[in-house]
């Protein structure tokens, strides 16, 4: 008998099964990081994707990992920028054009960009964290008139670990202030040195008009959010993307919990005010 059961529209078994997707292009961004453009083999597997969402990418027989969508490619495929840090990401980084991988998704929450039309926009990223934010930059570029001052604050450990540098000039040409910093450099570097939050000092935007989108190492995001709040940015307008271990992506495996939040369903993008306290608790 049906005791309190409700049939949900989507069945988990469907969302559990990776569908075949084809690699349309593979571009090495920096030493250990590759951007894959992928398309579903069967067009019916394509779903609308919003900036900030992620896909579960599967390598046959190896395993599956969550990877944020980092844009749409020239042939309307989805871009994923993958850093080679484990068995699955290593295999992903070694895929070539025409290779087939499995994919499920998209999953998760999106950056609330449209909700902040007319605002100044601060985009702050650390390391690979620029990947989930690149769709935000591109969204703003395409609708430049809908936003006021736009600032990209980006940092990485060292100059050769900076992503998407060839795009920065295009961003600047569209009137976006791009400030880049690294933790360490030699004398050939002519950008800033120091951690990403120090870049806020050089950013030109109206604090009371600004919305901020952050992605990067959790510690960096905490300091960044605090710096923005200290400067007068409205805390509710600061959003960030979090990361935890996840296996199912559909709110059932329980692994990606941070306090009451399931990162796969409620996140990965959260308002700072919703996660500030949770992020401050060690080992939560």
């Amino acid at each position: 008998m049906a005791v309190g059961t409700e049939r949900a529209a989507a069945s988990a078994d469907d969302v559990w099964v990776p569908r075949p997707w084809v690699v349309r292009s593979a571009t090495r961004e920096i030493g250990d990081t590759v951007t894959l453009e992928i398309e579903p083999r069967d067009a019916s597997a394509a779903r609308p994707v919003a900036p900030g969402q992620f896909m579960m990418l599967y390598i046959f027989g190896v395993g599956e990992v969550p990877i944020s969508v980092s844009g749409t490619g020239p042939t309307s495929g989805l871009l994923h920028t993958v850093r080679d840090v484990g068995a699955v990401t290593h295999a992903l980084c070694n895929l070539g054009v025409g290779d087939v991988l499995g994919a499920r998704g998209p999953f998760g929450s999106a950056w609330p960009i449209d909700e902040h039309k007319g605002c100044d926009v601060v985009i702050a990223a650390g390391g690979i964290g620029l990947a989930p934010l690149r769709p935000v930059v591109r969204h703003v570029l395409e609708r430049r008139g809908e936003y006021d001052d736009v600032v990209v604050l980006y940092g990485s450990r060292q100059p050769d670990q900076l992503l998407y540098t060839p795009e920065f000039e295009r961003w600047r040409a569209a009137g976006i202030q791009v400030e880049v910093t690294v933790d360490h450099a030699d004398q050939t570097w002519d950008g800033h040195i120091g951690v990403v939050p120090t870049l806020v000092r050089h950013a030109r935007f109206q604090v009371d008009e600004a919305a901020a989108f952050l992605c990067g190492p959790e510690v960096m995001m905490r300091f960044m959010a605090q710096e923005l709040v200290d400067r007068g940015v409205v805390p509710e307008r600061i959003h960030l993307s979090l990361e935890r271990n996840m296996k199912c992506a559909v709110g059932m495996c329980g692994r990606c919990q941070l306090g009451p939040e399931f990162l796969c369903l409620d996140g990965p993008v959260f308002p700072w005010t919703r996660v500030e306290r949770l992020m401050a608790v060690p080992e939560l």
Binding site: R7, A12, G61, G102, C253, E283
Partner: protein
């Protein structure tokens, strides 16, 4: 008002026969490995007739009764989740073909189960897992089908263990619905089961059994027996627990608990509502086939919170905090219900006898001071 009928104990097999005619796979309590566990059962003879269990923190013993009661025990280490959310289940099988990948297995329909001997607290647990697996934006089809097809024969408790605290949680010991049939066992001069139907399927089955209506004194006796089981020495006040958990995240009590906790994961495995799982991807030697298996996991297990080369929760204190604050706190925000039903399994099966009904007041005290 649900009419109550009487089924004589010697005719209990008629219930099994009626379920067999409906092609249900009966699972229920049986004695195995020194405990009362849930397994396939064919008839009344497989029930733990004449057995009971004695329970205390970190302690479980099977004992003989001086009567033939079939359901005069409390709960064992198993719960019904193992049938609806199996400890391991293959999610899919894929084949490499023509440079692509394709699914080669079909969703296997779960057996049509008849659950025999479901306790009131366990019904509460089923309702909680319904929300977890079928109440969100995505649904676990296997769970949903197994649950929808299951025929639930519930039994009100006439005994409670010192580890029980369902009365305080409002989940038992009386079965009041959310099942097909509700039984209450009476032993004494006559050994009978009072039977109430709580669904159309249940009523149809009761009609088929052709039972006599219960006498008023039998109904009184049943109420008295269940009422006695409601007198429990342990209690947990569910009021304000989410707030308490939220305020206690940095309490020093977690470290004190961690001095005893072995992080063995027993509490999560015996818990009728814990749902965390892992998946494993495997492939055969030819590399042509790959499978994904889902297995029960626990927030206590190493690797559960793995991220970038390390676990987010490394200390046992952090793992225990995750378990308890989820169970009693954040669960409410996620599923609009507590994750605890007061069955006491986590107390009984904890090898060091950690008692959540004792730990919660300590957290509350720490909060107050």
């Amino acid at each position: 008002m649900t009419a109550t009928s009487v089924l004589a104990a010697e005719h209990l097999d008629r219930l099994f026969q009626a379920l067999a005619r409906r092609e249900y796979t009966c699972v229920g309590p049986t004695v195995r490995d020194g405990a009362i566990v849930y397994d396939r059962i064919e008839g009344a003879a497989d029930l733990p007739r004449g057995f009971t269990d004695t329970q205390a923190p970190g302690e479980y013993r099977l004992e003989r009764r001086d009567d033939d009661a079939c359901f005069a025990y409390v709960v064992g280490p198993h719960s019904w989740k193992k049938y609806l959310f199996p400890p391991e289940r293959r999610l899919w099988r894929l084949r490499r073909s023509d440079g692509s990948i394709e699914r080669v297995d079909a969703d296997e329909p779960p057996p049509r189960y008849a659950f025999i001997g479901v306790r009131a607290c366990e019904i509460a647990a089923l309702l909680i897992q319904d929300r977890v697996f079928t109440g969100g934006p995505h649904s676990d089809t296997y769970y949903g089908r197994a649950r929808e097809d299951a025929f639930v024969v519930a039994v009100s408790c006439t005994e409670s263990a010192p580890t029980c605290f369902c009365s305080s949680m409002g989940t038992g010991p009386a079965v009041t619905g959310d099942c097909d049939l509700a039984l209450t066992e009476l032993v004494g001069e006559q050994h009978v089961f009072l039977v109430e139907a709580h669904s159309p399927a249940g009523r149809e089955l009761v009609d088929e059994l052709d039972l006599q209506p219960a006498a008023t004194e039998q109904e009184h006796a049943a109420r008295a027996a269940v009422g006695a089981a409601a007198q429990q020495e342990r209690a947990l006040d569910p009021e304000g627990l989410p707030e308490l958990m939220g305020k206690s995240l940095e309490s020093p009590r977690w470290d004190e608990i961690a001095e005893r906790c072995l992080a063995c994961a027993n509490c999560t495995l015996v818990c009728p509502t814990c749902f965390c799982s892992d998946v494993e991807d495997i492939s055969d030697l030819t590399g042509e086939h790959a499978e994904r298996w889902r297995r029960w996991d626990s927030c206590f297990n190493p690797g559960f919170s793995y991220l970038h080369g390390g676990d987010v929760r490394r200390a046992t204190a952090a793992k225990y905090r995750q378990w308890l604050t989820h169970k009693l706190g954040t669960w409410v925000e996620q599923f609009d219900t507590s994750g605890c039903v007061g069955c006491g399994r986590c107390i009984t099966w904890c090898p060091v006898g950690i008692d959540i009904t004792a730990e919660v007041p300590k957290l509350a005290k720490g909060e107050a001071s």
